[in-house]
Amino acid sequence: MKTARKVDLSRLPVEVKQLINAGVYALYTIRGEDALYALVTDKREFYLLSAAGDVTKDARFKDLNSIPFGEVVTFPDLPSTSSIKVNYA
């Protein structure tokens, strides 16, 4: 599991990052790629993202099955506007 800062992938909208943190969308690193991420939505659509967070294309990755998924990425320092705090230890 990879922790990113909220300022990373700076061009990815904060609303998308919030759904990533909620687990509705999933953001993965791609094995063997330093500057490419895979975003999978709740509707199983996927987007390749550049290091800056822009949607990009790469002919090698045509569908979900062709992507060597790496780590799950989240943005723990991004505050959620409607999250409820609960005790658990």
Partner: protein, 307 residues
């Protein structure tokens, strides 16, 4: 005369009532089976949290079985940081895999992810008949429970829970949606290295509280036991309270999100952005207006399943 007739009736009634099994759930006598019909990480997080609670109760992963409808290439990155690597199967193999298990007295099946009016949203869908058949295919099981956190859980109600291996059904929702709320844990779940790894997610509200109860059981009905009936009552009430708390924050945001969506549509914003706002808006509206109505089937057995 009347007294003797009543006594006879009571004796007759007692003799025709089958004895219900009583069971104490221990670290090793119960298999915990998780099913998820979803491809979203939030439902995997529901399971990671539940396993964290079970581990804290001393249940090892040997007694935990996962049936998750998600491509292993996408599922493994969620599970492996938490050291969850055992007994992971496709839901399509549910009945066959459960039939192989031996050595347990109790089975507790927990369902998260999506549900539809025809069953658990796995591929293929798990119908009420198939789920009950799979439970009863477990060898040597005396009793147990099926806990349904998915939407439309009520289609699993009114099953024959008393005959053969008796069991309790608990539904987080009736014939409508179940709810998930964004939560932040004051103490994140740690990964296998001991680092904070899961600070929050959009959690299935009923299941979250069910496992909170299991983490710190309370005797709700005051009968001196921590039973499945207590778990049901606690989870239903706590989930409802949490949803009410969330509603106070959500209702203002809905109007803002609706306006933002209309503006983005007019501007011809990218599909990802439009989908994101629409998804967020739909979730907020569901949480504002849906009342899930938890239910329990074979309630007489639930106080006899103790933790």
């Amino acid at each position: 005369m009347l007294h003797s007739r009543i006594s006879r009736l009571l004796r007759a009634s007692k003799s025709t009532t089958p004895d219900l099994p009583a069971s104490s759930v221990s670290k090793t006598n119960t298999c915990w089976i998780f099913i998820s019909g979803a491809t979203e990480g939030r439902h995997v997080n529901d399971i990671i949290f539940a396993i964290d609670v079970l581990r804290k109760r001393g249940v090892t992963d040997d007694h935990v079985y996962l049936f998750v409808d998600m491509d292993p290439a996408q599922l493994t990155p969620f599970l492996s940081p938490f050291g969850i690597t055992k007994n992971i199967h496709s839901p399509a193999t549910l009945a066959g895999e459960l039939a192989k298990l031996t050595g347990y007295e109790n089975a507790i099946i927990v369902v998260t992810g999506h549900g539809t009016p025809t069953g658990i949203a796995t591929k293929p869908a798990i119908t009420p008949h198939l789920l009950l058949q799979s439970f009863r295919g477990l060898k040597g099981i005396k009793t147990g429970a099926i806990i349904l956190g998915q939407c439309y859980a009520g289609i699993f109600n009114f099953a024959d829970a008393e005959k053969a291996t008796p069991l309790v059904f608990i539904g987080a929702a009736n014939l409508d949606l179940s709810l998930s709320i964004d939560i932040t844990l004051k103490q994140p779940i740690k990964d296998k290295s001991g680092a904070d790894a899961l600070p929050g997610w959009r959690a299935n509200s009923f299941l979250l509280h069910l496992f909170f109860w299991l983490h710190s059981p309370t005797d709700i009905d005051g009968d001196g036991h921590f039973s499945l009936m207590d778990a049901y009552k606690y989870s239903g009430a706590a989930a409802a309270a949490q949803v009410r708390e969330a509603r106070a924050m959500l209702h203002l945001g809905v109007g803002q999100k609706q306006a933002a969506l209309q503006q983005l549509q007019a501007q011809g914003a990218p599909k990802l952005m439009l989908d994101t706002i629409a998804t967020s808006l739909k979730s907020d509206v569901d949480n504002l207006y849906v009342n899930p109505e938890p239910w329990i089937l074979h309630a007489r057995l639930a106080p006899r399943i103790r933790f």
